[in-house]
Amino acid sequence: MKGPSPLYGLMAEFDDVSSLVLAAERAYGEGYRCLDAYSPFPIEQLHEALGSHHTRLPLIVLIGGLCGCLGGYALQYWSSALAYPLNIGGKPLHSWPAFIPVTFECTILAAALSAVLGMLALNGLPMPYHPVFNVPRFALASRNRFFLCIEAIDPKFDVEATRRFLETLNPREVNTVAD
């Protein structure tokens, strides 16, 4: 294993969306796997260009939704049939049609909450410090510039070779990112 490196990676800056997507595709095709792209707005094609890695978020949302569904139904069953049994319109105490709307709402609520919280847990946000902020021009990532960063932990990463490779992608400039 390499010793601790003061370098986080190399970051190329692009002017427009298609250059960034093309660059990400080329870098992935070249064999780089530890890379990330930064843009002022979501770009659908980037996901696949970066080699669409699977996240566990859908599974978390599914489990959250199922818990909400069962929890919502159980709460109503407990309150209407066990804790406070009331005869309403001669209907059975366990009247499942009446429970469906609340069950549905609880499903949505729990699924939505687990989506937000799961997303935050998985991507580590809020994150006050990130090495890419060490590049002063990175502030433009929230305005009109697009960045591709190849990280130093990538097995194929080599400061000289990777820089030469990034230069071939016609970037505005290539910067080193200190860790």
Partner: protein
């Protein structure tokens, strides 16, 4: 780029053969089902109404989705714009195919029986709306509105292909805004007239949107199946990418949920109220053998497609998505069976051979007409203002290889 402006006929020569075979199948089916007409007129009309409403649902659903896309835009609609147009142009044939229902209305709808109405106070009050002349006038108005919308949208789209005049897109948008409103109103009343009045005492205010949701779902399922078929042949094989199927899969999921929401709302309201005039509709469905049909709908019109379409992978895999789409078309038929057949067989479940033969017959005829309409025009709207932004990049660079997930 030149190959994109070829007509579908030139791009896919096998279409002509399919059209001929489907027409022959439709002819044979029509001959067989006419035999059924002599045995049992009422059963024939009942099965015919079900088959007709499915085909009409796909036609009008496509017309409505086309208008929605004119207003909303999006790549999903650009790739299915031509199948949408071809389906909407089957409307004149659907207008003709309404004639058996118009001629047979005395045997379909109990409220046309003067003796029955004379002994029924509720039906006397409803006579102002439910009477034969007004029923026929209303049907004429519905077909006039639908045919008019389809005619102008298709004519302008043809002109756009020829002249690339940008003002036409604006004109189509304006017509679509009003057209959607007109579609919503006409289909609500048409579903009251043709389906809900089968049981003239019963009423449900959500019935119209239930039918609208069903038609949207039928049309999306058909368009998805059509796009999967077209995407394996030139020129669309270079253009359709998994993202397009993903969009259509998401829309199908939304419509499956919409249908379930409307159906359940209707049930919940009537179940809570528990009023004799309303609950009877459910009683003779749920306390007899028809219950099995209801359970089938819950399982296969909602649960199964809902679970499958939740998966991102399923939506991006055309081979799987086409199975879901065909399954949805079949349960759409079962849903119409659930709405219509129990009114004629109140004692228990009854399936006639005509319930199978007539949908296949009308389906074949409809599909043959659809292919005939599809053949005459290019498969992509190259002069659509959105065409470049939606598909230009893909055409420029070639469709990306199908990535394995």
């Amino acid at each position: 780029m030149t190959s994109l402006t070829n007509t579908a006929d030139a791009a896919i020569p096998e279409l002509a053969g399919h059209q001929r075979r489907l027409l022959i199948a439709g002819g044979v089916g029509a001959a067989v089902s006419l035999a059924g007409l002599f045995f049992d007129v009422r059963q024939f009309l009942q099965s015919y109404l079900m088959a007709y409403m499915l085909c009409l649902g796909v036609t009008l659903g496509c017309l409505a989705l086309g208008m929605v896309h004119q207003l909303s835009g999006g790549a999903w609609g650009v790739v299915i714009r031509r199948p949408i147009g071809a389906a909407a142009r089957v409307l004149p044939v659907m207008t003709l195919l309404f004639l058996p229902i118009a001629f047979g209305m005395n045997r379909l709808y109990g409220w046309t029986n003067a003796d029955l109405v004379a002994h029924d106070e509720a039906l006397q009050h409803k006579h102002l709306y439910l009477n034969t002349p007004f029923f026929l006038v209303r049907a004429a108005v519905y077909f006039l509105v639908w045919n008019g919308l389809s005619y102008f949208l298709n004519a302008w789209s043809l002109e756009q292909d020829r002249t690339a005049e940008p003002r036409l897109a604006r004109r189509m948008q304006r017509l679509s805004g009003g057209g959607l409103l007109a579609y919503g109103l006409t289909i609500t009343f048409a579903s009251f007239d043709w389906l809900m009045s089968l049981e003239p005492h019963w009423f449900s205010t959500i019935y119209g949107v239930l039918i609208v949701g069903g038609q949207g779902l039928s049309a999306l399922a058909f368009l998805t199946a059509a796009l999967v078929w077209l995407s394996r042949r030139p020129p669309l094989n270079r253009i359709v990418v998994p993202a397009h199927f993903h969009d259509l899969g998401n829309l199908m999921l939304a419509f499956v949920m919409l249908w379930a929401y409307f159906s359940f709302s209707q049930y919940l309201i009537i179940w809570s109220g528990n009023l004799p005039v309303e609950i009877s509709w459910y009683l003779h469905r749920l306390q007899t053998g028809w219950r099995a049909v209801g359970l089938t709908l819950i399982l296969f019109h909602f649960s199964a497609p809902f679970v499958v379409l939740l998966s991102r992978r399923a939506k991006r895999e055309p081979d799987l998505l086409v199975k879901v789409a065909i399954g949805i078309l079949i349960v759409r038929l079962i849903d119409l069976f659930w709405l219509i057949a129990p009114e004629f067989h109140q004692n228990g479940i009854f399936v006639s051979w005509l319930d199978v033969v007539l949908p296949l017959t009308l389906g074949s005829i409809w599909l043959a007409c659809f292919i005939r309409q599809l053949r005459g025009r290019p498969l992509l709207p190259v002069h659509d203002p959105e065409f470049e932004s939606a598909l230009g990049r893909i055409i420029e660079r070639g469709a990306p290889p199908r990535t394995a997930h």
